[in-house]
Symmetry: C2
Subunit: 463 residues, 2 copies
């Protein structure tokens, strides 16, 4: 690989001025006249393409000028910085080698394509401006998250994907099996005989790594997970996918306030990182996808997040009930319309809503002294609504057991979990960040199918 | 979280000398006499515990001295650097608050436990020295890998977990379904009716992200995946798990030599990173798990990897056939015994074996000019055997099609893949690194069950 990345040329163009370089890449556009032509070439390392000028001194001039968009080339030429032109520099070709041609039916012609159409060609859409920007930013966000936690000595834990338990006691799950579905063996009472299944029992795809994560937090103090999670929900919305990635930090000797602080610091860290490392992409999103994106991100970066209890939030929301499709009252769950009203209209910045009624939250959340609410928090951000959900966990053995009985959970299945409250229990807290929501938030993309490389939704599992 | 991490105390002990600090953590051991006692406390941030000295001036002295191992404490006290003692510093407690007690039946008493026993308590074993070391190193290796690729501008791609295709056309797969196994609906010809399944067709858990990864390499030039992969192989060995993580970089405009260079650079990068960031853990492994580990890693770090073709390797191995359980000849696959002989006895360092017979390799590998072998490479390392497998990919449309027909693959199912050879094909190459093999290699642990937080193997899916 003796090719110079286009990214490097953009970074150090002055030092390459009038130097000979060799680049590789794919044709984005080509214009030609009788004696010369221009190729816009992208090598995938940088959002901006490079303009290559070629002329009929090249022995394969006539072949080159007839190439189709999408062809792969290797170009040797001289860099010429052009301070007064539209592009900051161009390359004057000394030789152009064809690595691979393309055909006239190449689906990505110069005209603009709808996102719907591009979803039908997931193997080619990363070659477009929008998706190249989306998926580079996706990669950068993932790295920023690792960097944030590793700099703080959090241990990355790979919680299992195939699991015998359902963390939240809810949620539709995918079953995993090696049984032959055409020949399911049943016991006399018509139950499936799982003895011949790979694990000898019924297993599913994970919906959350939290409970497993907690076991490691009680050993390492601070841990995080970052892996795929699954929901077999039959909902065809722009915000739901059957397979998505989640980040779940868990911190021992930490309470709900610590939890919120880490969540806020993390979101700000991600935004700073992307602003520093994907300027071109953010500018593109701001121009073509979501006007106001950069302003919004900068605003978030420089504001303290708001804090409000669920009870206070309900009081504010009730005053606006006329305008809501779903009317709220104390005890009801917040819908996206309520969340967005709070963060966009009332706070005009991200806000943590805390201390929800225990009835609408999971069994593992810590009961507050009022006995009615739990130490939960949701982080709401403008344009999205909930982006993070977390809580302090119930660390009292007896209270946890009581809650589990109340909600009808099997004490045997969760013995590992109650063990954590038996052997050196410590206050602890954590949260979950939906990775795709986060990518949508930082790119302005409005459909989750457009931030997942190969989205899986009801009835849709291509490639 | 106003607690000082024990890691920080070890790093800056002199600046904390005679200062008051507050730490948190769990009791590893406790010795006491009538008027004073010693607690060894670990907070999960550092391999070494801290010794806390307490005496009967504490009002809860009698409670503290009776605490069980595993109890969680918050300790305020003075740091005292002790240059002549076994531990470099200790903390003289001013106050000790009990965060959570433990019980006398706590399974991790001071005595040593077998790995087999510890596998039965996966939620507690990270609290032991060995597993704390293993899983911290696992986390560091994961981060080193991300850092290596991100520093080189590789784009991290999340290839799908649920998939409709089988990358290698081989390998036992897990099926994913939302059908009720007790009531499978069949069509008149006794086939399962998948119309009511979540995706409307038969889907499986991925065995490799490579083919999807290639589509992104043809857009971004350099990409990598890092995600879970699955094999439903009925093999109960110390090297196989049903669920494991894999790293699969893919590079456009790169050939087999580039591929091997990146693989070698990556392995050396990982080793350096762990040596720098996990000195204590490596020392522990070297003393208790695998004598010679550090020497071996240092040797690898400072040697050029060897290179040998499969054909040459077979000639060498045939001379030693008497000593092998499986006799080799040209055309046979290499077994671990042959791999280890090559890397341990012949080369005494890591070695790439290249250009395997096409019959024993996958359809997508590039045919060499000899028409008999393909541009494949396996990287063999001492103590393990194969740790990396890779190849240059067939980038010629017609040759790829011919190979697919030969191996009986459906051209329709792989249209996305052949499209890559139709629209701007470019030479490209990649490899797969089994993450757990890599963790085993760097820790000296010999069973894959002991480097996975919650291992999944035949008949075993606990927690």
């Amino acid at each position: 690989m003796d090719f110079i990345h286009i990214k490097k040329l953009y970074q150090d163009m002055d030092s390459y001025n009038e130097q000979s370089v060799t680049i590789c890449g794919w044709i984005r556009s080509l214009r030609d006249s009788k004696s010369f032509g221009f190729i816009s070439i992208n090598d995938g390392t940088y959002f901006q393409p490079v303009q290559v000028v070629f002329d009929n001194t090249l022995e394969n001039f006539d072949t080159i000028r007839k190439l189709n968009i999408g062809s792969a080339l290797i170009i040797k030429g001289n860099v010429l910085v052009t301070p007064n032109a539209r592009q900051p520099f161009e390359i004057h070709a000394e030789s152009i080698t064809i690595e691979g041609t393309s055909t006239p039916d190449y689906p990505l012609q110069k005209k603009r394509h709808s996102f719907e159409y591009l979803r039908t060609i997931p193997h080619l859409r990363p070659r477009t401006n929008t998706f190249q920007a989306v998926f580079r930013v996706r990669s950068l966000i993932a790295y920023a998250i690792h960097q944030f936690f590793q700099e703080r000595d959090f241990v990355y834990v790979h919680t299992p994907i195939i699991t015998g338990s359902d963390c939240e006691g809810a949620g539709e799950m995918f079953q995993v099996t090696t049984l032959d579905l055409a020949n399911i063996e049943k016991s006399p009472n018509e139950k499936v005989n799982y003895k011949k299944d790979f694990f000898g029992k019924e297993v599913n795809l994970t919906v959350s790594g939290q409970l497993n994560g907690e076991t490691y937090a009680m050993a390492f103090q601070n841990i995080y997970t970052f892996g795929p999670t699954f929901r077999a929900e039959n909902s065809n919305t722009s915000r739901h996918a059957a397979e998505f990635w989640m980040i779940e930090p868990e911190m021992a000797f930490a309470d709900l306030n610590d939890d919120m602080q880490v969540a806020e610091d993390m979101l700000k860290y991600i935004i700073s990182y992307v602003m520093e490392h994907a300027k071109e992409e953010l500018t593109f999103f701001n121009q073509h996808i979501d006007t106001g994106l950069i302003e919004r991100l900068e605003h978030v970066l420089h504001s303290e997040f708001g804090h409000i209890t669920y009870t206070e939030a309900i009081k504010i929301l009730e005053k606006n009930n006329d305008a809501f499709q779903y009317k709220v009252h104390w005890g009801s769950d917040l819908q996206t319309e309520h969340e967005r009203y709070l963060t966009e209209e009332i706070f005009k910045r991200p806000v943590f809503v805390t201390d929800y009624p225990k009835e609408i939250k999971a069994f593992y959340m810590k009961l507050n002294p009022d006995q009615k609410t739990v130490a939960a928090m949701d982080c709401l951000v403008p344009g999205i609504g909930e982006i993070i959900g977390g809580s302090q966990r119930e660390d009292d053995y007896d209270l946890l057991l009581a809650r589990m009985k109340e909600t009808g959970l099997s004490l045997d299945d969760y013995a590992f979990y109650t063990d954590l409250r038996k052997y050196g229990s410590a206050r602890h807290a954590g949260f979950g960040l939906g990775f795709e929501r986060c990518v949508m938030y930082l790119t302005g993309m409005s459909n989750i199918r457009d931030v997942l490389p190969f989205p899986r939704t009801v009835g849709n599992c291509t490639l």
